[in-house]
Symmetry: C2
Subunit: 252 residues, 2 copies
């Protein structure tokens, strides 16, 4: 049931933690582990912690350079964070995340959960790719969880949820969930379009796009809806080109 | 809220795991850690895994010789197991355990959760002291969880539950929960009494007592109820002495 769930370790610092994560993945029925740009990776240090049982999970885990590569083909990406300030609102607990992940998996999606480096966690740059963020509740006295322990708590919640009811894929292929790449294409297109009609400010469009991205992240966008929205963008841009002022920024 | 929850590690083999457990305890607001007869304990190996934050949890954890000493003063003891065969029925998942623990803690009890050695887990001898058993659901491919990861999953469930509602202690002192020692005294007394009236077989009374123990383990026995039951036992034994056959086993 969790075979469409991917665990992504972003720049992990300690090979031992990677081994422990592989074991936790096996315990909870996850075999899709991807490691991004690890620090001083050393298979000899990682393997004993994975134990013989989870050796294959560790040995088959791809090591890639970027987070974008790591979430390739996924339909939703969730980030984990211990920092809950700033724009990081609406952060889920593992329970809520498990509900969302379960719904997406049952809808035929492939979901990635991303864990940041042990010391710093994910930065805003990395979380911007995420459809949602999650934090594990802790005591105030000890807010920093070990990486592998954070992974096992999250996967345990997802595994528990997956046991609740049998898996029933739904919907025809044209209604399949969109991949993160498709969503990125749509966001770029939306941004261009909203800039073209002067809805977004030229000075910092990425910032003004955040609420738009957040809105779409909450929706489990399907391929037919993606096609529809891309079509709307195309039409708006055609309209601006055909009828808009030639130098539309001159009179600002 | 979890300051009346005790984590007991029974004969842990790896000091690193003990350190990781101390960190997990701190993360989830538990500071009462007791270690029973550890194998080759080495503080230098355990401390780095505890991190500086949880150093005090590890350094103040008593090291004792027996499980009985470790659960001294507790009102309920729960064992963790990966083995679910034999008489080990009615085993809870962590969710259910958290509910039971929460109820006991809110009732003013002190609860111990016992984790066995990494390789073998708790034997029937050790689980016989337990009011209930718990197992963490896992994938069939990987049923063996790392010790500290098992601890963090269990404590996470308990911590989550403790956040649900504020703590309200209930009842007057005479209704305080009974300690494990009091329960053991009661069980011994019940066994003597049931033997005296030939309810239990002489050949293996411990075995025949199991269902009785299980029945009472489910009840959060209070001190006034303990007094009542002890009084009933006393009266039955007085009756047998006063009116029973002089050599009651002779005619068997």
């Amino acid at each position: 049931m969790l075979d469409q769930l991917r665990v992504v370790l972003f720049r992990p610092k300690y090979p031992e933690n990677i081994g422990s994560v592989a074991r936790a993945c096996l315990n909870m029925g996850v075999s899709d582990l991807v490691i991004v740009d690890p620090y001083n990776f050393n298979m000899d240090k990682a393997l004993p912690l994975a134990t013989a049982h989870a050796r294959h999970v560790l040995e088959t885990a791809p090591i890639v350079d970027t987070l974008e590569q790591a979430v390739d083909g996924c339909t939703a990406v969730y980030g984990t964070t211990a920092r809950t300030g700033g724009w990081r609102k609406g952060i889920m607990n593992p329970d809520a995340l498990a509900g969302v992940v379960d719904e997406r998996l049952r809808g035929g999606g492939r979901v990635a959960v991303v864990f940041g480096p042990e010391d710093k966690g994910l930065t805003n740059e990395e979380t911007s790719i995420c459809s949602g963020l999650m934090t594990i509740p802790t005591s105030r006295e000890g807010t920093s969880l070990n990486l592998a322990q954070a992974v096992v708590v999250v996967l345990y919640e997802c595994f528990k949820r997956s046991l609740d009811a049998p898996f029933v894929p739904d919907g025809p292929p044209e209604e399949r969930p969109t991949t993160v790449q498709e969503q990125a294409t749509l966001f770029d297109n939306l941004q261009e379009t909203l800039l073209a009609i002067d809805f977004l400010k030229d000075d910092n469009p990425d910032y003004w796009m955040l609420p738009v991205r957040r809105f779409f992240s909450k929706i489990n966008l399907r391929r037919n809806e993606f096609n529809l929205l891309m079509g709307v963008c195309r039409q708006v841009k055609w309209f601006v080109n055909a009828y808009g002022p030639d130098k539309k920024n001159a009179d600002k």
